[in-house]
């Protein structure tokens, strides 16, 4: 591929001097809250995005004020785990430096929003003091590695979970830029020390996501990842992983070349060494074969389809130096969080807290944020995050359970969960407005309200016991994985959404577009009609997604 038609980001990466760019100068520029355009691309690799409060743009422009720029920082938490001390630290940092809301993402990590430029460094330093970093949680590089979250899923959960950290560490960039710029580490003298055989100076053509699932629960939506690892367990022993490549959800309105795709399972590997080798080389194939001129077509899914699944497998095997075995059978039967108390095989307790759209904050009804802080302060619970934007208070000892429960009770968390409906518990929405620059419509700010309008319809048709999965995003990028939902809302314009239906409950079949650009009234009308026939005609045990397909609605 000629260098000329490479996308501008390719030039920026190469010229960035190991992801340093001109960040230093940008930070020093005191007349704007922004950083230079090029640096905006570079800081992503350090786990942050420049954003601005889109609600305030017009008003500020009239006041001759620049946009209200701030930064979102996303932590690297392979598998989504924090100690109670780290939660307290995060709580404090959120209060001091950001909007105060701690956002649990759809990839099991945490985001803080609204950090102003001069606070980035102190924020990262405070995280660092708590042994947390945000390296490579954004950018054209391997992102936060997701892993089935609930230790109750399997006695060998811990063993699988450790892969998330191993893979994350293996795929970190070699540059010391993050430490130099944000943590004041002395500048590296010999650039050879940071030579990067994996990413070289061009990194990947696009973001890269890895997820690890422990069947039968597909809570991580493993097939929506560029690279999915499905743990194969026999007699409570991990015997290896099925390797799935080419998942990815994003589409672009009006660009027929883009599509959502579930990963294709291409083989099985047994040992840890082989697994890590395969993972590593999937990245090098994508590095060398991925599209570097059109970022819309640069994800691994397009590379796989361009090479053909067989072609991809052949290239991969030539790089890993062994043939993968044929995929082992596995079955997903669910894709959800186990709310409330659960005990694992060791007798430790786990409480999954429902966090609506992953937003940890105190509101009039529930003091969730305070409750979690109180729990963390006892030091008697770890914190895990789920790919459904929920939180698990984990590894609570039998004797501490009552204390933790009392705190949740005291601050209204139990009550809120008891009162919430299944459809709300299963739902999720992306961030969207006001921070996401790509949002076309509302996401997490609107879904709770819409659900309140959908709930009466569900009750009307007595469908309250159904586990219907609704997901919403503010644009077709699909951050809330709406394409893998039974009912997906994909924003097209303010107040308007495409309605997708027909995905299955386990995340192994994508949905399809049913109606375009509906407003709220039409959404409710359509759903009323669909639920009416679902109630009337559903077979026993049939899910809404399967029913939609059987009816050939899409």
């Amino acid at each position: 591929m000629s260098e000329n038609n490479q996308s501008p980001v390719e030039r920026i990466k190469k010229a960035s001097d190991g992801l340093r760019g001109t960040i230093e100068e940008s930070l020093q520029n005191e007349i704007t809250g922004a950083i230079s355009d090029d640096d905006q691309a570079v800081v992503k690799f350090h786990g942050m995005y420049q954003q601005d409060d889109r609600d305030r743009r017009d008003e500020r422009a009239a006041k001759k004020l620049d946009r209200l720029y701030s930064y979102m920082i996303r932590l690297r938490l392979p598998g989504g785990f924090l100690t109670p001390e780290q939660w307290v630290a995060t709580h404090d940092i959120a209060g001091e430096k950001s909007t105060g809301v701690i956002k649990i993402t759809t990839r099991q990590t945490l985001q803080l929003h609204g950090i102003i430029k001069s606070d980035i460094r102190p924020t990262i330093q405070a995280f660092s003091a708590a042994k947390l970093d945000s390296i490579a949680t954004c950018g054209d590089i391997n992102r936060n590695v997701a892993c089935t979250s609930h230790p109750k899923e399997s006695p060998i959960h811990e063993q699988v979970f450790e892969y998330a950290d191993k893979i994350s560490t293996m795929l970190m960039p070699k540059t010391r830029a993050y430490y130099e710029i944000w943590l004041g580490e002395e500048k590296i003298v010999d650039k050879k020390d940071e030579e990067d055989p994996l990413y070289e100076d061009r990194y990947l053509p696009r973001k890269f996501k890895i997820g690890i699932a422990i069947p039968p629960n597909n809570d991580v939506d493993v097939l929506t990842n560029d690279l999915g690892l499905i743990a194969i367990i026999e007699n409570d022993k991990l015997i290896g992983f099925n390797i799935a490549v080419g998942g990815g959800l994003s589409t672009t309105h009006g660009n027929p070349d883009t599509y959502a795709r579930l990963a294709t399972v291409i083989g099985f590997v047994d040992t840890e060494e082989k697994t890590l080798k395969a993972v590593y080389e999937v990245l090098t194939v994508q590095r060398d074969f991925g599209n570097r001129s059109d970022r819309k077509l640069a994800r691994l899914k397009y590379t796989v389809d361009k090479m053909g699944v067989e072609g991809f497998r052949a290239e991969l095997e030539s790089r890993i130096g062994f043939r993968m075995e044929d995929p082992r059978p596995y079955k997903f039967t669910a894709r959800k969080d186990r709310f409330g108390w659960e005990k694992n095989h060791e007798g430790l307790w786990y409480f999954t807290v429902m966090v609506e759209n992953g937003r940890v904050l105190d509101d009039e009804k529930t003091s969730l944020k305070t409750a979690l802080l109180e729990v963390a302060k006892t030091g008697k619970s770890h914190f895990r995050f789920t790919s459904n934007q929920n939180l698990i208070l984990s590894e609570v000892k039998e004797e501490d359970k009552a204390e933790v429960h009392a705190i949740l009770e005291k601050f209204g968390v139990i009550k809120a969960m008891d009162e919430s409906t299944k459809v709300r518990q299963n739902a999720m929405a992306c961030v969207a407005l006001p921070t996401c620059p790509l949002a076309l419509a509302e996401g997490q700010r609107y879904l709770p309200k819409l659900i309140s309008l959908i709930e009466p319809i569900i009750t009307k048709y007595k469908l309250d016991a159904e586990d219907i999965i609704i997901r919403m995003t503010g644009c077709p990028n699909g951050c809330g994985r709406p394409y893998a939902a039974e009912i997906g809302f994909v924003g097209t314009a303010p107040g308007r959404y495409n309605l997708h239906i027909g995905g299955d409950n386990e995340g192994t079949r994508l949905n399809k577009i049913f109606k375009e650009s509906l407003d709220e009234t039409s959404i409710l009308n359509e759903l009323d009609g669909l639920f009416a026939s679902f109630k009337k005609e559903k077979k026993k045990g049939e899910t809404f997604g399967d029913f939609s397909m059987r009816k050939n609605w899409v």
Partner: protein, 570 residues
């Protein structure tokens, strides 16, 4: 060519004369030769007295906005023409030790603030209020510039006039007070002064020179403008409100550096409350030094009732014959606590009330860039009385002005705050509303394509909410009009950061601009900002220029003299 007694006289004169006198004679004679016939007569008639005071007339001026200086320069020119070698000096450069040696001394001085001398005359003003020296030789005259809209009209000039006499000086011409249309009165006064010199030949009988009384009507040109837009520049969450007000006014004439003056009206409910409390006939026409007006008009639009100064309170106490502590207070409160006997007594009170003072606002537009418009940048003034939040009279009124409303204003010229030649470098220090004239400067320099470099220091409390004119300034940085822009936001971090800290941090470069001939402009709060900034400049000169404190001060003083250190502070 010369014969007999003439030659004798000349030689004798030459023999007795000092070198300086010879030089003067030389100049005098060549001046004589160049005179035309018409003036020849006067000059030769004057020659005797001119010779008598040769080299001994000092014309000293104390100015804030350049009017006094302009007159003093004119006078010096005329004196020269009249054969008098007048020494022209700004009062801040004046050597106080020279005062007892002065023979003929004219002071042209304006009044600022609340009856205060201009900053540049402060030292002199304080000095003449002291004792311990005598002005035995001095024959003096004072020309006082002021504005009848202010309660303490020409106060500084009056004080200087009184003090010079107290110190033993001889007043050879009565104090002349001048309103804003000072030209004619000033010219007459100086002509009278010259005549007095001649008729006296240095003597001291007081001739009957009539001094014109201060005229009633002010000569201000009042414009009727229309508000085109009015926006609060501060974002939500700010503790400040700063309004950018664009006023359309056809034919308005001003230069960057000028301000506009606005006379606010009193709050009508307060006026009404006073009327009903005192029971005075609202329509009764009263004679007042501001003119003849109905009572309601006086109380609503003409007189300061909002916050009476101590001196007025004192007079009030005299009228109502009560013991009232010396404090500032609003008229309504005063009337409630210490009521007047009847409406008759209240009329007496009205007669001691002072006019509402005009409020000045630096113009933030440029005639080149915003033709037919005047922009101002108004901080809504707030304060608390008994924990109740109150707003300043004029700024609150302006803050609430809706689009399309009418607004009357006059242009207050400031000739001491002008842009230099196009190719000169300019350093502007303007935190808060001090940014206003610099927006004008930058728009002007941008429009005319001035080649000199521009460096602005701006400061406020918070970056996110208080960066006044942020996008405009960013554009000027991008287009290169602003060579450098440094900002200081005091409350965005634990330790306070102000403009002077940013100047200090850029000290070496700051000094190199000064060495390259840059002009410094300061606008905004007099206290403490302008003093802190000045100290920082001296410090920078000291450190970066490797100078002693004394040398640094001298350096700045030289800049002042060259007109390269200019301030408009309030």
């Amino acid at each position: 060519m010369l014969a007999g007694p003439k030659l004798q006289t000349l030689l004798q004169l030459v023999k007795l004369a000092s070198k300086e006198e010879l030089i003067w004679i030389n100049g005098y004679i060549s001046g004589l030769i160049s005179q035309d016939d018409a003036s020849n007569a006067t000059v030769s008639a004057d020659a005797g007295s001119g010779k008598a005071i040769a080299g001994k007339l000092t014309i000293a001026y104390g100015t804030e906005t350049g009017n006094s200086k302009k007159l003093a320069v004119e006078f010096a020119g005329k004196a020269k023409k009249a054969g008098i070698n007048a020494k022209l000096v700004s009062l801040d450069q004046y050597r106080l030790n020279d005062l007892p040696k002065e023979e003929y001394f004219l002071a042209v001085i304006s009044t600022q603030g609340e009856g205060e001398p201009p900053a540049a005359a402060k030292r002199f003003y304080d000095h003449v209020h002291q004792n311990g020296f005598k002005l035995e030789k001095m024959k003096f005259g004072v020309l006082a510039l002021g504005d009848t809209s202010y309660p303490l009209y020409c106060k500084a000039g009056e004080d200087v006039d009184t003090q010079l006499q107290r110190l033993g000086g001889e007043r050879i011409i009565d104090l002349q007070r001048c309103d804003v249309d000072y030209e004619e009165d000033a010219e007459n006064w100086f002509t009278n002064f010259l005549a007095r010199l001649n008729s006296q030949g240095g003597g001291s009988q007081s001739a009957a020179v009539t001094v014109a009384p201060a005229k009633k009507a002010t000569g201000k040109k009042v414009y009727a403008g229309t508000v085109l837009s009015n926006i609060n520049l501060n974002d939500r969450g700010s503790s400040k409100e700063t309004y950018h007000i664009e006023i359309g006014a056809d034919g308005v004439e001003y230069k960057p550096g000028d301000s506009i003056g606005i006379l606010p009206y009193n709050h009508l409910p307060i006026t009404e409350a006073i009327l009903s409390l005192t029971g005075i006939d609202r329509e009764k026409s009263l004679e007042h030094r501001t003119g003849n007006h109905s009572v309601v008009n006086l109380l609503h639009k003409k007189l300061n009732i909002a916050y009476l100064p101590e001196r007025v309170v004192k007079q009030y106490a005299g009228i109502v014959k009560q013991d009232i502590p010396e404090t500032k207070i609003g008229l309504l409160d005063l009337l409630k606590i210490y009521p007047v006997q009847d409406s008759q007594q209240f009329e007496e009170v009205i007669s001691i009330l002072e006019p509402i003072t005009p409020r000045l606002y630096s113009i933030s537009s440029s005639p080149e860039a915003h033709s037919g418009e005047v922009h101002i940048t108004v901080a809504k003034d707030f304060f608390t009385i008994n924990e109740e939040l109150k707003y300043g009279l004029c700024s609150e009124h302006l803050a609430m002005l809706p689009v399309d409303s009418e607004i009357e204003f006059y242009v207050h010229k400031n000739n001491e705050f002008r842009l230099p030649a196009e190719d000169k470098d300019v350093i502007m220090i303007g935190p808060g509303t001090g940014i206003a004239p610099f927006r004008s400067f930058l728009a002007e320099r941008d429009s005319i394509g001035a080649g000199g470099r521009n460096w602005l220091f701006f400061g406020e409390q918070h970056f996110a909410s208080d960066f006044l004119y942020q996008t405009e300034l960013q554009n000027w940085v991008e287009t290169g009009v602003l060579t450098k822009l440094n900002v200081a936001f005091s409350r965005d971090q634990k330790q306070k950061i102000y403009v002077q800290n940013k100047m200090q941090a850029n000290g070496a470069e700051f000094y190199s601009w000064l060495e390259g001939g840059a002009y410094i402009y300061i606008c905004g709060k007099k206290e403490p900002m302008s003093f802190d900034v000045e100290n920082t400049i001296i410090n920078i000169i000291k450190e970066s220029g490797g100078k002693t404190e004394e040398q640094a001060k001298q350096y700045l003083s030289n800049m002042k003299e060259q007109g390269r250190y200019l301030r408009d502070v309030y």
